[in-house]
Amino acid sequence: MVSAEAVWDALAEIPDPEIPVISLVDLGVIQSVDVGERVHVRFTPTFLGCPALEVMKHALEEKIAELGAEPEIEVVLDDSWSTDRITAVGREKLRAAGFAPPAPREATAPRLVQLQTDAFRCPYCGSTETKLENIFGPTPCRLLRYCTSCRQPFEQFKTI
């Protein structure tokens, strides 16, 4: 029988379909792995409308099947995933790829004034002289900022 550790190692090789520099394990969307008769994986979506959801689910199933086990993927539809679950390694990979990592989740929902005034660091030059361009971006999980120091627009992960 395959070990839970071997499953985790295998899942850590699956890239995020939209931002392949980071793995599904780095992203924190794998909640648990239980090895029994089948390999039961609890998986939480990032954003509910994320089109990569189905792709991620199939990638998980394929990877587990490659280990010779039968996959059972449970999609958890609750609030248990937060951008705080992105690992330290994951955050660094995002930054290196030009995506500013998300700010920590707070007790209350993020407010516009925070997005407009808080210091968000440019992933290219490190300056905090950046401004909000749009609270929406190319995918549900990202918003657009502009660095006034190096004059580079960049994408920031939304805090969820």
């Binding site: 954003f47 509910l48 409308g49």
Partner: protein
Amino acid sequence: MNARSRVEVLLELADDELILGWRDSEWTGIAPLLEEDVAFSSIAQNEIGHARALYELAARELGTDADALAFDRAPDEYRCAPLVELRRLEWARTIARHWLYETADEIRLAVLKASDDPEVAGLAAKIDREEAYHRMHAEMWIDRLLATEEGTTRLREAIDELWPYALGVLDGELRLQLVERVRGRLPFDLPEVEPVTRGQHTEELRELWDEMTEVRRSAPTGAQW
């Protein structure tokens, strides 16, 4: 809301989000500003994602699947509020509808988040995290419109027209909360009108339904997508 069954509550919310998501997506490619094209496309994607998750919960109870609930019902079987059905390809009305809906939705989600049904409460909390960005966007627009005389006039005209529909999104105590919030935010009076409530449908829903379900209806029953 307690008088309605769990499935009815889920379908009301899911149908609102699906139909509004569809309406929002009509701005893709033609919004008056590129930033708004991005915003409304993204909001549409979120709303339809919420609808899918809600349909999945309802489908488990009904022994069907999310696609069947989204596409295989007749237009009269949808439980959405008439507010989301309206096709308003005019910017001030789109913004007014967006803000009125998000304000009502926040009130409704707060109740669902406190539900003692853990699945409903969990999903409502997840949806609300995403809706926080929609509300920010809508509020930003209200500030922008109220900052000028022309903006205020156009917002007022749009609110006057949409207010009966907005009242119909919620009922009972929640409707009163909506009235209080909207009244507290706007510098002008709201018209005294009767709500256009859930259960009635506009002709615009029928047209949307024809378009939305066309591909699915054209394929044989049981086709795998």
